[in-house]
Structures are given as structure tokens and as C-alpha cells.
Amino acid sequence: MSERENIDDVLCVRLPGKDDKPRLRWWWLRQPPPMVAFALQARLSAALGPAGDAAVRLALRLLDPGAEEDLEAGVEAQGEALALRAWRRARAGKAISDGRGGEAMHEAGERLRAVLAFVASHVGAGGALDAAGLVGEFEREKVATGQAGGGAGAGGVAQATHRWARHGLLHVLLHESRCRWQGDGDAPRKGSWAAQDEPDSPGRRLALAAEGHALGAYASALDGVLVSPEELAILAAWAALHLYRPF
């Protein structure tokens, strides 16, 4: 049996920018190996609770073409149909995006948003979403008073800084997927942030942490690059779909 080929993907996240011009942010990830992928599937399913069940049921409907057509025909199920197309693309082994930007990338982003909306819509009042398990918990950083340069601002009030007290499953998912930023603009950045002659930057720190073993370093580096919670949610949905993506 030969070595498995790595399964990589590129995504462009379109976020609102200045003057109605969208901001294009490029990301890269790699499907984790099977042992990690199956473990993450189970942990995500447990953390999502009923919403995870709904998402899995959505995926299972792909096995029944009749049910799939019925689902798409439903006028009120447009969001679900969009999410279903994302699952179908994943199961067909197609990239979530085509990696070239433009309208297809925009659609890919919308598909991922649809998956998020679908999952969120199934987290009802009685849902058992483990939010802390998913996104982690933060706490105020302990700042020692009286230290040299020691965190006390004007008037002796300590600067409020926070750190992750507990990392979330989404951090683990993105770390295991080696998710890293590929820059802003019309195209992904050429060359690796991790090259030795690259100066220190948030992108470089994230690229190095993505290849490293320290989840804490990765989560901190990710915080230095992300520009909105929505971007994190889209990345997490993208990485989660890759856990189920067959090739």
C-alpha cells in the first residue's frame, strides 16, 4: 500500500471591507490523517449535541437521492439546500472552493455560511451545545503589580489582557488541519511564511505554530491573524467539512 497523498485546500473568505469593497482573505488547510479525523468527528458531534445530529442527518440524506431531490424542492428549505450542496461537494471529493477567487469563491463562502446557519438553526432553546467545549474559555491574565514595565497604565490601572484558560475544540480542529493564513488580496500569497528569510509577522507566527505541536501557541497566533468571529466560524465549518470529505 503506497503512501497517502495529502489532501489540501485553499479558501478565500470574503468579509465586508471599506467603501463597499469586499476584503479577500486567503486560507490554506490540510485534511488530518484518519485517526485524528475520526476522533474529531466524534468530538464535534458530541459538542454540537442535537445540531450535530441534524448535520449528520443532512449528510446521510445524500445516500438517498430521492430524499435529496425532495429536500432541494422545498421552498422553505433553501438554506438547507445550500448547506446540502456543500456536503455534496465534500462527498464528491471536490474542493469547497475552486481556489481561484471571484464568484466561485463567493459562493463557497456562502455555502459555508449556509452550513453554519443550518447548524445554528438546529440549536434550539433545549439544545445541548457545549459552547465552552467548542470555542474554549478565556480568563484575565494575571499581571504582577510593581514589575518593571509591568502592565500598569496611567493612574496605576493594570492593562486588561486575556489568555485562553481552556482551548476549544475549534482550535484543535484548525490546528490539526494545519490551517494557516495565506494573506489578503486578489490572490493567495506566493511563497511560505515559514521560510527562514521571512521577517516576523502574525502570518509567519501562525504558519510556524501550525506545523508545531503547541496548541496554545497556535491559538495565540490565530488570534493575531483573525479579524472577526465570523471568519473563525467559517474556517471551522470549512475544516469540519474536510473531516468528512472522501477521496
Binding site: E5, P34, A39, P246
Partner: protein, 67 residues
Amino acid sequence: MPASPPSLPGFAELPALARVCQRLDLSPADLDRRMSVDEVLDELDMQHYLHDCDNEPQAAPRPPPAR
């Protein structure tokens, strides 16, 4: 405490992976290095099929007779 083997999370969440390794005579590390998620899913399907061949699924119980 030493770090747990990288394969442990997969076995803990999906014990059937151990049978995949056993049937294919692969170590967990070999499975990660050589097989994709899809190939593992195919192998799990094969195991279910072989199990059904060896243990014919029971027919559904008959409904009680109408009174």
C-alpha cells in the same frame, strides 16, 4: 505522565479502527500514513458486509395477529 500515542484518540472514539488495522495488518501509524478517510470508510463498510455474510441479518419480527 507521558504523552498518549497519537493513535489513541481515534481508537477511543471509533474502536472499529482497531479492526481495520487488524484486518489489513497495519499499525495505527501505517494506517494514518497510507490510508485516506474515504479508504477507511470503505474498509468499515466492507467489515459490515462481511459480518452480514457470516451472520445473516434476522428478519423483522412479525406483527402480532389482529384480534
